[in-house]
């Protein structure tokens, strides 16, 4: 029965391919919701199962056993297996929490620093321009009564023509209006819970970019213009950065996110709302939920028995 608690730890490995298929085929705003929600649900399942698995080990401590009014040790299957599972779960929790705390601290520190810099800058319609020849642009979500900002370098504005600049601004406004940073944060938190969910983080990020690209294309009424804006901005950024930045994966055969975005914008707008991969993700989450719930109920029964209740009750 302890398998019920192990299955939700294995199920996340199925998510990355399903998430990729969903993002390729479904309207990106729907894909973003679906993938981020599934990632969060599976991460919750993983956390719940790890916590539950840790319980038999924790209840061996006299203090906690007394606190739970245990009359005898919890019997939850073969003692050796349960002990191993408990120890492994404890190790996994320690690793996740450490990685999460370190990552979250770095991210928050950087956000605070960027906010402080932007707070001192004048803006027009939410746009702040940095006097920097390196092409760059990002959306800075507002926080604590500070409003949203779009930060763009002068180099980026000079690399694009008038229509492309509007597409860029439309893209960043879509990120802010869609609160995409919340989806990205949730995905990042989930990624720290499980290595398979780490692989979904770039998929969520890609879905957010695609959703913003589609919104920009709608706003400027020209998909090819939006495609050109993304492509030319990336090439301009690459021409200045080359030499500084080591190619991360020059040998890989797959296409990176930027060409994929341009390709999608040059094709027809995606209209499908549901595909089998999306339904499979829903099924996956249901399975993980049911399995962890089943495992928790089973362990709870074990604890009740250890508290002296009779099986018949």
């Amino acid at each position: 029965m302890i398998m019920l608690l192990v299955v939700p730890l294995l199920l996340p490995w199925i998510l990355p391919p399903l998430a990729r298929r969903t993002v390729e085929r479904v309207r990106p705003d729907i894909a973003l919701w679906a993938v981020a929600t599934s990632t969060a649900a599976l991460a919750l399942g993983v956390a719940a199962c790890l916590g539950t698995l840790l319980l038999p080990l924790a209840l061996r401590l006299p203090v906690l056993a007394a606190f739970a009014h245990l009359l005898q040790p919890v019997q939850a299957g073969p003692a050796a297996v349960v002990f191993c599972a408990s120890v492994l779960a404890g190790g996994a929790i320690a690793v996740s929490v450490t990685a999460g705390a370190r990552g979250a601290r770095a991210e928050l520190r950087r956000l605070r620093a960027v906010r402080k810099l932007v707070a001192g800058m004048p803006e027009a319609g939410g746009l702040c321009v940095l006097e920097d020849e390196r092409p760059d642009a990002f959306a800075l979500p507002g926080w604590m009564r500070r409003s949203d900002r779009i930060v763009v370098t002068a180099g980026m504005l000079r690399a694009l023509d008038a229509g492309e600049r509007e597409a860029l601004l439309g893209h960043e406004r879509a990120h802010l209006a869609g609160r995409h940073h919340l989806f990205l944060s949730v995905a990042q938190l989930a990624g720290w819970c499980h290595p398979a969910l780490t692989a979904v983080v770039p998929v969520v990020s890609f879905a957010a970019e695609r959703a913003a690209d589609e919104a920009a294309a709608r706003a400027c009424g020209d998909r090819r213009l939006a495609a050109r804006a993304v492509g030319r901005a990336a090439l301009a950024a690459a021409s200045l950065r080359s030499g500084l930045q080591a190619p991360t994966a020059a040998a890989r055969g797959t296409t990176g996110p930027v060409p994929a975005r341009v390709k999608a914008l040059l094709a027809q707008a995606p209209v499908r709302r549901v595909v089998p991969a999306l339904l499979a993700m829903a099924l996956l989450c249901t399975a993980a939920g049911a399995s962890s719930l089943g495992g928790a109920v089973w362990l709870h029964r074990g604890v009740e028995l250890a508290q002296g209740e009779h099986p018949a009750d």
Binding site: L184, A250, K263
Partner: protein
Amino acid sequence: MSDEGERRPAGELESSVLAVLWAAGTAQSAAQVRAALPQDLARTTVATLLGRLLDKGLVGRRPGGRGFVYFAVQDTHGLAARRMHGELDGGSDRSMVLARFVEGLDPHDEAELRRLLQEDRP
């Protein structure tokens, strides 16, 4: 005159005008700004937008041509820009929450992208 442009929030138009001035790099007359905007705006609208940017200190102007020419006001020595660059590219890890418009390209992506843009050109 019409007005796909004028229906949009004033803030969006202000940011478009600011982007035009930054992209130009040199001082522009109101007419030049109006011509460079992708939206079709009335002359008075452009004048109002430039006036607002002027009030906010984002834009400066000086006499030139048949009136004034406008230019984007640069911050002192690009200090904010350098600090921002340090924050964004300094650390070993990338920020997940600050979605950058374009991420780095490897040579394979770059070639692919050039091909796509080439094909698109009519």
